[in-house]
């Protein structure tokens, strides 16, 4: 601790250089924060998937419907606790670019299926009573400026025409990764108005009493409907969402390679800055050694300078990235469901910064440590 002023003096010897090095760390970790958030946005579905839920779709593909009569038959399968269903509506608000996730749901069972959504009981009751009612996520409600009780027109794309809904509730996610962009309305309302596709649903959600048995139950369900006109494909929600994320090309690879380039560059910049500063102070270090500073304390001194750059610049960058998140969510306008920098990514970024700081300081520090007083002083 008593060396703190010494470290500080060493850092601030060249103010511009110190600022630039701090700036490099700041930008690199800011970028790291953004990349981590982008990755989370693409893979969010996997993280939030309920372990005790299965998704059941038509074996041919997701867009093919399943008969509504399957509900009772799925319930008969051993280990199934609850079944709910939904149908993709694909509507937009006013203009085509105002796209958001909207689907017709089974009002009796949908909410208990998804414990991660928080919605006041009275709102849900009001929704159940109003055939033209709907529930909308907080993000989407804010995006279009919708308020409770508003009557809003949605243009259908699959079932065309204008559909009007009354907003009966606004839900929020129970944790920060939950999807707050969805829009739900009565399946009965859809069934009543659509001219074709009656008696079918888009997909089923199945809740299990024992998540451990998921593979076995999924298989039992698929076997039940094998060789029927509507064969099914049942997967855990996690597997289902992973399948989707995988189709978005290899996001992980892109992020890793950009991140790798950035950190490698950072290592070079910091390394060269530190070695410049050590080289300039050769005389100083020699004098310090003459005064009785041990080799190890010189090593630690240089290393802690480099570490200080990493910690200060890095954490500032990460905090700035975290502060940017709401703005990014707004800019991307529903393209990606969430933008969020989780604390675990935050920690990971900081660890990476510290490692880069240590690696960059290592060679100059060792050079300073090995410095022989005689040689160094002779050079002056």
């Amino acid at each position: 601790m008593k060396f703190l002023p010494l470290i500080l003096k060493g850092l601030l010897r060249k103010k511009v250089r110190a600022l630039l090095t701090l700036g490099s760390f700041f930008l690199a970790l800011f970028l790291f924060g953004l990349l981590a958030a982008i990755q989370l946005a693409f893979l969010a579905g996997i993280e939030i998937a309920g372990a005790d839920r299965l998704v059941l779709i038509n074996r041919v593909s997701l867009i093919q419907p399943l008969p509504i009569s399957y509900k009772e038959r799925i319930l008969q399968v051993d280990g199934v606790e609850a079944v709910s269903f939904a149908t993709w509506f694909g509507g937009y608000y006013k203009e085509q670019k105002n796209f958001f996730a909207n689907f017709a749901v089974d009002t009796d069972t949908y909410l208990e299926m998804y414990g991660e959504f928080d919605i006041p009981d009275d709102q849900w009751e009001a929704f159940k009573k109003d055939r033209e009612g709907c529930i909308v996520g907080k993000f989407t409600a804010d995006r279009f400026g919708w308020k409770m009780g508003d009557r809003i027109p949605i243009t259908g794309t699959i079932w065309t025409g204008t559909w009007e809904f009354n907003i009966r509730g606004i839900y929020a996610g129970r944790d920060e990764v939950a999807d707050e962009t969805q829009f739900w309305f009565h399946y009965d309302y859809l069934e009543e108005r659509r001219p074709w596709g009656k008696g079918t649903v888009g997909w089923y959600m199945v809740k299990l009493s024992d998540p451990e048995r998921a593979p076995e139950i999924a298989k039992a369900i698929d076997e039940r409907f094998a060789n029927s006109p509507f064969e099914t494909k049942t997967e855990t929600e996690k597997a289902f969402n992973t399948g989707f994320a995988r189709q978005m090309a290899n996001i992980q690879l892109i992020i890793l390679s950009v991140g790798g380039v950035v950190f490698f560059t950072l290592l070079l910049v910091t390394g060269s800055t530190m070695s410049m500063s050590v080289r300039e102070r050769t005389g100083e270090f020699a004098v310090m050694k003459t005064l009785g500073f041990t080799d190890v304390s010189i090593l630690l001194l240089v290393l802690s300078e480099s570490l200080a750059f990493a910690l200060v610049g890095g954490s500032a960058g990460l905090f700035a990235a975290k502060a940017m998140m709401p703005l990014l969510s707004k800019l991307s306008a529903g393209l990606l469901p969430i933008f969020l920098l989780s604390w675990s990514s935050f920690g990971l970024g900081l660890v990476a910064a510290v490692l880069v700081g240590l690696a960059a300081g290592a060679i100059p520090a060792v050079l300073a440590m090995r410095l022989r007083i005689v040689d160094a002083l002779r050079r002056i």
Binding site: S24, L27, S61, Q247, A249, V261, V262, V269, S272
Partner: protein, 390 residues
Amino acid sequence: MAIPLVYNIRSVRERWASSLVAVLGIAGVVAVFVATLALAKGFRSAMVESGSPDTVLIRRAGSNSEMESGVDLDQVKIIADAPEIVRDSGGVPYSSAEVVVIAAFRHRKSDADALAQVRGVTERALETRSAVTVAEGRFFRPGLPELVVGRNAEEMYVGLELGSRVKFGGQDWEVVGVLDAGGSALDSEIWCDASILQQTYDRPQNIFSSVTARLNNMGDLEAFKDRLTSDPRLTVQVESERDYYRKQSRLLLSLITFLGGLVSLIMALGAVFGALNVLLASVVSRLRELATMRALGFSPAALVLSMIFESLFVSFIGGLLGCIAIYPLNGLTTSTLNFQTFSQVAFDFMVTPTLMAVGLVFALGMGFVGGLLPSIRAARVPVASALREL
């Protein structure tokens, strides 16, 4: 009098270690920047050039994509009667009613199920689109469960090689041909007989997803559009195929551009910081050298120019290196889920000379910004005191 450029090149070489830092930093940024541009460019051209220049796509009014659309047989016949559509020698119009669905196939690279667009057509589909040809094998025979697959689809999915059999929708299919659509989105599609597809997907035989037609000339588009939209028997919208695909790619394209742009911008700032650091240090370490030049009679302006040139030189090398490093990506095929059509599209990275030039300009821009401050610093060297130092 200007300082010879050789001076700068030699001094960069003299300080090769720290110059290398600046060069590599800029190379990294340019590589990422050009890669993003190449991705966006490849995706745009795959999607937009999917449309043959003289064809139009007719869908049900209000539908976003072919998959959501529905046009019944009566409407198909009315559309085909329009005089703007080209006719063959027998007087049969070049118009093709098609069924579009998606089906899951095993994706070779990710080893997971991916969604491919399956198009049910008749032979007329090929004749209507001048840009699509059968490259290998033959076209399917009507009434048989046979598939013709796009070039990219064949490579992307397991089991779609020419001659192999594949099962989907409870039907066994044989792959009998490979289509070449010039690298467009149609190359990611799978084609088969429309009526068999309708049976397999349990769809009514007389409802199609869309109608594609070839016009006599594109100048007729407005007249054609007016005729169809004002006909009370029809509820359709008409777009040139190009416009349709442009819209289908808009969302993903803006996502790529937005994210790629943001990342490149931040990286560029970082590289400027790095270059500034290195150049400032190199100015400071040769203060005496610079003072000597001033004493010899070089003007401050000459020093500024010289230092900026040095910075530009370093960043040019960096930019060149970045372009060379990223060039192997050229022609590499990748695929992604287009969430507007809900299916996989394959496209190539396109590293064109223009994009590389843009990358180089970007590098020079970074060099200029990074070199400005150090060059001013160099020009303001106090001659007397700098020379007095050891």
